[in-house]
């Protein structure tokens, strides 16, 4: 059963140096507040997993939290490149970053395999691309009935998944809706999970399009209203596009970035979720 904790306590308890951490949210419901808390707690040597590492992972990488990135598309959506990611890959700043690169279909299926308790997933993918050479864990697999050769990818089994959702109830059942991405699979594939939410309510009202993660499939829930900013939480907030645009200039330069990190993350309080807010 998931218990409700503060964001700071949740990160302190669940995220350890050296862990493999998946923060998911496909454009929508990106767990920025939790990511910033991971930076604030100065976690190191993380293997960061995410289909679409965008601004939040650029920040984590620039802050030196990661030693490896497992991903399928890394960019600032609608804006351009991730400068901290590039700097880490090409110049090793602030620490070298190993990469493991897949396609979206491959990553999604790797989470599905993890969520399903299977060691691998099968898909029609990667064939003929140079990803097969660049990434070691893409292998052919033969259909035992037709002889057709397909592609296998290994399950993802992160130590901890971190996602943001709209709501939880006091028992720790989690509800999210709108574009739900791969978050259910990320949570179910991971050993532990932390879910930040916009609000904690007595009862989850039925909601069209909602995915519910029962409390017994979640480890910790933390209140973090606005915790997906600058992405959005459908029904609660809208995307802050200016933030994404301005990130380009902030992240381009190591010094500007370091200043931003200091002001906006290290000196900022945990976004929300002090015990008083939880009442």
């Amino acid at each position: 059963m998931a218990t409700i904790v503060t964001l700071a306590d949740g990160v302190a308890e669940l995220v350890r140096d050296g862990d493999t951490v998946a923060m998911e949210g496909f454009t929508h419901l990106i767990p920025f507040a939790a990511g910033h808390e991971v930076i604030r707690q100065r976690r190191r040597d993380l293997t960061l997993v995410r289909m679409t590492p965008d601004v939040i992972y650029d920040q984590l990488i620039g802050a030196g939290c990661a030693r490896k990135l497992v991903f399928s598309w890394g960019g600032n959506p609608g804006v351009g490149s991730l400068h901290r990611f590039r700097d880490a890959v090409s110049a090793g700043w602030p620490v070298p970053l190993e990469i493991e690169e897949h396609s979206h279909a491959g990553m999604a299926n790797r989470y599905v395999a993890g969520a399903s308790g299977l060691p691998f997933a099968v898909l029609r993918g990667y064939v003929g691309t140079d990803l097969v050479k660049a990434t070691s864990n893409i292998r052919p697999i033969t259909c035992p009935f037709t002889g057709e050769v397909l592609t296998a990818v290994p399950a993802l089994r992160p130590d901890v998944a971190i996602i943001h959702a709209q709501r939880a109830d006091r028992d720790g059942n989690v509800q999210m809706w709108g574009i739900v991405g791969v978050q259910k699979e990320a949570v179910l594939a991971s050993t532990r999970s932390l879910v930040t939410v916009e609000e904690i309510v007595d009862e989850l009202p039925p909601q069209p399009g909602a995915v519910v993660l029962p409390t017994w499939a979640v480890t910790r829930v933390a209140l973090a209203p606005g915790g997906s900013h600058p992405s959005y939480s459908h029904g609660f907030s809208i995307r802050d596009n200016d933030y994404y645009v301005s990130w380009d200039a902030i992240s381009r330069d190591r010094e500007t970035f370091t200043r931003w990190l200091d002001t906006e993350v290290f000196r900022a309080p945990a976004a929300a979720g002090g015990p008083e807010v939880m009442a």
Binding site: M51, G128, T129, G178
Partner: protein, 264 residues
Amino acid sequence: MTVVTRVGVDDVAWTADEMMTVAAARALRDGQACFVGIGIPSTAANLARRTHAPRLVLVYESGTLGAKPRTLPLSIGDGVLAETADAVVSVPEVFNYWLQPGRVDVGFLGAAQIDRYANINTTLIGDDYRHPKVRLPGAGGAPEIAASCPEVIVVVRQSTRTFVERVDFVTSVGHGSGPGDRARMGLRGAGPIMVITDLGILKPDPQTCVLTLSHVHPGVSVDKVRAATGWDLAVAADLAVTTPPTDTELAVLRELEATKGRTP
């Protein structure tokens, strides 16, 4: 890219990007389902839906099937896509149940580099994977769109930087190294049937699979297209000039562009 190409009479004017977007929109047929990425593909698909293809089904990799956005989305995961979709499914489902079996008729792809066989690179520039000259975003949904959509349309601005003899990294397979290659690899879609640029339209030669110039946009010379191509570009015997954007197409396109990212 805001260069205005003035063609024919003085009061007809559009940018090269507008011509490219209009040509891309026209390539979509009514009733098709189209896998849409953000940027020009999304603009073109939304333009098509507002002009000749009102029943075009827009599928975004965020899992929105049949999105009917009232404004141009800023990302493939904008709320307006979920709100207006026929169905919102998970990301694994959109790839496994919808893209992989070939249910989405047309895939729209961009490229950082594209070669004569329409193989696509969106991963890196340079010849060392571990130490690239320029690191690009990577694959995203493209490899499987290129593999599984019955047809693929590539939309990309044309220059020798982009149209190269050989891509530095094959992110998404076009026609591989020539005829029969897709079948040998077990790729079930037809691959790129058309590459639409700001200068014209290229199609794979039916015999050789090599991209061949089939259309030039109004006011663009064949020499100009050749000069923007990194290989010795063949020209189709029946080379045509693209029909200029109609007033309606331009009006709808500009109205659409003005809605970008606006809350509906």
